[in-house]
């Protein structure tokens, strides 16, 4: 059973409307979906402390989670680890694909894509970035059995949005509630089942 959870910082449903990402919209229409709600935390370190609930990294590994490119530090934490100020979005997505190939048969790969938000802040074209993400997530989807694609918040190039995306192969107990950051770890663990 191969499983992956991919966080894409800054990805929002607004960008779905603006950019029409083909694969993600198809997936959105055909599987479990939701909304991550986060009104307070937009700083990567704080966001990831909450998502991981300050669990020691060794404990996460022993629970079956391989952390990958987590922006708790720079270089990022986990395998792979990158310089998040220098790596391009395409290079980061290539590493996502490699991490899924290398680790997802043994662990749930929890990978953070950080360059999309950084590029938006640098005024790069949101739709070009999303098209790239869309194609790589489709490639990831082809490899794994279970997946969760989510964002801890949205970002539209100028301001943060309190709602992030959530698309997953696994149902949630409360579909009519938003997902909070501290619930994400349980969702990641559930992907291994």
């Amino acid at each position: 059973m191969r499983a992956v959870a991919v966080s894409i910082s800054g990805l929002s449903y607004s960008s779905f409307a603006d950019c029409n990402p083909r694969f993600l919209l198809n997936l959105f229409s055909s599987t479990y979906r939701g909304v991550v709600e986060n009104r307070e935390f937009f700083e990567p370190i704080k966001v990831w402390q909450i998502i991981l609930r300050r669990t020691p990294f060794e404990d996460l590994l022993s629970k079956g989670i391989q952390l990958s490119n987590i922006p708790l530090s720079n270089p990022t934490y986990g395998r792979p680890s990158t310089d998040m100020f220098k790596i391009s979005l395409k290079e980061e997505l290539e590493l996502l694909l490699k991490a899924v190939n290398d680790y997802s048969d043994k662990y749930v790969v929890l990978f953070s894509v950080n360059a999309y938000e950084r590029d938006l802040k640098n005024k790069k074209n949101a739709c070009e970035g999303l098209r790239l993400i869309d194609s790589y997530l489709e490639a990831v989807f082809e490899i794994v059995d279970n997946y969760a694609f989510f964002s801890p918040y949205g970002f539209d190039g100028t301001k943060y949005e309190p709602y992030g995306v959530y698309i997953s192969s696994m149902p949630r107990p409360s579909e009519e509630e938003t997902i909070k950051l501290d619930q994400i770890l349980d969702i990641v663990l559930s992907l291994k089942i």
Binding site: S12, Y13, D18, G34, V35, E176
Partner: protein
């Protein structure tokens, strides 16, 4: 993007509809993913329709609004002319579909 869509409470909703020759109200909830997509589409077309007042109401906070206007699915847009519902759009629709509906509303 300038926010032209007024956030309404249940108490404000009636007044909003009654005082508008043309009004569009977006019934939504935070947990509803398609609602966020439709909201963006609505935001993108609203500036072209100065004759229409746009509002949105969170049905999680105001379930009585959903009950009163018989909202059975989210998102739902209700299009009002002189206080009366003249069209109802359920689910996410394309920008073109929405534009056609808004054009019909103000014809």
């Amino acid at each position: 993007m300038q926010e032209l869509i007024e956030c309404l409470s249940f108490e404000e909703l009636e007044e909003f509809i009654e005082s508008s020759e043309y009004a569009v109200v977006d019934f939504w909830a935070p947990w509803c993913a398609p609602c966020h997509i439709l909201h963006r589409i609505l935001q993108s077309v609203a500036p072209a329709y100065s004759k229409i007042n746009f509002g949105r109401i969170n049905t999680q906070n105001y379930p009585e609004a959903a009950e009163k206007y018989e909202i059975y699915g989210l998102p739902t847009l209700l299009l009002f002319r002189n206080g009366h519902v003249v069209d109802r759009i359920v689910g996410v629709v394309s920008k073109n579909y929405l534009v056609e509906s808004l054009n019909r509303l103000i014809q």
